[in-house]
């Protein structure tokens, strides 16, 4: 009896596997046909785009064919507010007739990020969208994967400092472009703002090692410290116990009167505030952070926190729009330039309420019409850049007519 059941189960498994395989084969064949149509037996990137454009023009006249899409979105996590918000913003484009699959990479390592991209490609993504938070060394591997699987890829919140890597991705026909913020300027402005509040001796908390964004923010902050004749007293790197690290620093360097966390407000600034209080220096040491947190409203109100830069959640939205335009055969960024995204500066609880209501509330800040218009055929990259740079809470309020 057991043998019989085993045989039946094995046969069922084999039949199931064969069925799945044949379905997949059919799908693959269709995909291959579609790809062949797209690539037109040419491997050169620029020419691929030309062919696509022609095909689209032939079928729809001036109109671009907006075929359904599947975007694979890889993120470090959705537990922190920044990760949650960028994932939310990434899904705004679903209103344009597609699907966004969010995959949380299991760890801040290159391997984990590559595995995440592989999973997304396996799940049938037409486009992969990611941030090189594990370091830019991850980019060549993902670029290779995307080219091999003929999947478009776009990077957000990413700085590529190595010219060789930049050259490599630029030559990939499936690379769409990058979005980024002025990290150096943001670091610089943070120090400037704190200096205006009376800060003179700084401690910087780094949230990552070997990540260009983090390094650029630190460079900007360090430059401002130099330019303004201030002191950079100590740099804390990726502390396990932030409260203890800040306590130790404040005891060793009593002259410190400003703590700047260049990322992870919730993870690094909140414990820093506790540390400042525990060494009896509440009100004497200013703090600032990058990326929004759930507690920053109360901290700003209590005067424990001076400034937070963040709210650049649209970085993923514009990256996805850019990728979609390429996927639909009418790339808004044919030269693969870097699209700059502005930061929102938050210095009061009211700013946060408005952000929660107008940016990450129930209604996306851009309507489907506005999204399509921003990448329409009559728009250039400069127009697109202008739309991105106009992003602010005031901009959303005015577009909604409130």
């Amino acid at each position: 009896m057991k043998k019989l059941i085993s045989i039946i189960l094995i046969i069922m498994m084999i039949l199931g596997a064969v069925a799945c395989n044949s379905t997949k084969s059919n799908e693959s064949k269709e995909e291959v046909k579609e790809t062949e149509k797209k690539t037109d037996s040419d491997t050169d990137g620029e020419e691929v785009k030309e062919t696509e454009k022609k095909t689209d023009s032939d079928t729809d006249g001036e109109e671009v064919e907006r075929k359904p899409f599947k975007i694979g979105f890889s993120v470090w996590g959705t537990s922190d507010s920044h990760g949650r918000y960028v994932s939310q913003a990434a899904s705004w484009v679903e209103e344009l007739g597609g699907e966004v699959i969010v995959d949380v990479a299991q760890g801040f390592t290159i391997d984990a990020q590559v595995a995440s991209i592989e999973n997304l490609i396996q799940s049938g993504a037409d486009i992969v969208s990611f941030c090189a938070y594990s370091g830019e060394a991850v980019i060549p591997k993902i670029s290779e994967l995307a080219e091999k699987n003929e999947v478009y890829f776009v990077m957000w919140d990413t700085t590529v400092s190595d010219p060789a890597i930049q050259e490599m991705v630029d030559s990939n026909p499936y690379f769409v472009g990058t979005t980024n913020e002025g990290q150096f300027e943001a670091g610089y402005e943070t120090v400037e703002y704190l200096a205006e509040q009376g800060a003179t001796d700084f401690v910087i908390i780094k949230y990552a090692i070997g990540v260009a964004i983090c390094d650029e923010r630190v460079d900007g902050a360090s430059k401002a410290i130099d330019d303004l004749g201030l002191n950079l007293t100590y740099v804390i790197e990726v502390p396990e116990d932030t409260k203890k690290a800040v306590e130790d620093t404040l005891v060793n360097y009593p002259e410190v009167n400003a703590v700047v966390a260049v990322g992870g407000t919730a993870m690094y600034v909140t414990p820093s505030i506790q540390a400042i209080e525990s060494v009896g220096r509440k009100g004497e040491v200013l703090t600032s952070g990058f990326d929004f947190s759930d507690t920053m409203g109360a901290e700003l109100e209590a005067g424990d926190l001076s400034l937070v830069l963040g709210g650049h959640v649209v970085t993923t939205h514009f990256a996805n729009l850019m990728a979609l335009s390429a996927y639909w055969g009418d790339p808004i960024n044919p030269d693969k330039e870097q699209l700059m995204i502005p930061y929102l500066t938050v210095t009061s609880p009211e700013d946060i309420d408005n952000f929660n209501k107008y940016v990450v509330g129930d209604v996306p800040p851009y309507t489907p019409e506005e999204m399509l218009d921003s990448i329409s055929s009559d728009k250039t990259f400069d127009d697109f850049q202008k739309i991105a740079m106009e992003y602010s809470i005031e901009d959303v309020i005015s577009r909604r007519g409130e």
């Binding site: 996590g77 959705t78 537990s79 922190d80 507010s81 949650r84 949380v104 990479a105 299991q106 760890g107 801040f108 390592t109 984990a112 090692i209 100590y234 740099v235 804390i236 790197e237 990726v238 502390p239 396990e240 116990d241 932030t242 409260k243 203890k244 690290a245 306590e247 130790d248 620093t249 005891v251 060793n252 009593p254 919730a266 993870m267 909140t270 414990p271 505030i273 506790q274 525990s278 060494v279 009896g280 759930d294 507690t295 109360a298 209590a302």
Partner: protein, 327 residues
Amino acid sequence: MKTNILRKESILSGIKRVILTLLLPILLYLVLVLTSFEKFGKFDSFIMTINQSMVNLAIGWSMMFGISVNLFDFSVGSRLVLAGLIGVHFSQKFGLLGLILGCVVSSVLLGSITGLVFSILKVPSIITGFAVLLIFESLGVILSKNMVNAISSEHLVLAKGFNIYILIVLLFIFVYIMYNHTKFGFQIKAIGGNERVATSMGINTAKLKFLTYVLGGFLVGFATILYVSNAGTIQPKDGLGSMSIAFTPIMGVMLGMLIKSCNSVVGVFVGSWSITIIGSVMVAFGWESRLQNVIVGIFLIIVMGFQLNRDKLFKPITTKKNIQTNN
């Protein structure tokens, strides 16, 4: 006269034990004082190093029972994070009581679930720990997506001022009694000594091991309260990130259990305190903060190597002393 001599010897032996116990942290603190008397000569700075070790001490005590029966469970951090998030969530509805009950009750439940998986499925403790760690981390992420992760400052009082000492002293009394003066404590030590012998003595090892998970869960609950109240926040972790929460406390426990001049419960305190001071020494020297883990790792290897090879190291001296005594 003889009684007086015996009493004197007993007092001297007690003083010697206290000195030997506190020798390591005191020496380390002296390094700090020598680095900068102005900064570390103050009583406040001394107290700060003790304060800083409290959270790791509480986590260390929660792991001590498990380690005593050779259970290596790296899920402690993930349980702490999940219980902390539940506690924060409950604090928003029921205030401080919500935080306390949310942390402790959920932690006991999570500890019990881990213990049940281990006991029923007979999966090795390390594997069980990793498996539940992945589940609890993911649950923490899911939970945090559906809640506002913010705790009111008025609910952080348990780690402020004397409150942290009151909580730690109460925990110490509880752990000390459980470890040294209960049947449960004796039995887990017997299992730790030799499980086969303990089983042949009629000790239900499976049941005892399950109970160490439950008891550990109860203590992790209190450690969670301290952790949240101390940092003012608890952030969900994924991708095995919660494991790092357990590393420093484990080092404190290992170090503490090797100190022979005192009870293990006190030893864990000494171990945790010593590890904390090492971190402070790094900053005092102005060394790159990433070097701290390197130094702590090297320190641990040296201390454990010394402790485990002490007999071999001192054998020539002891033998010589014995010969002289016999002569």
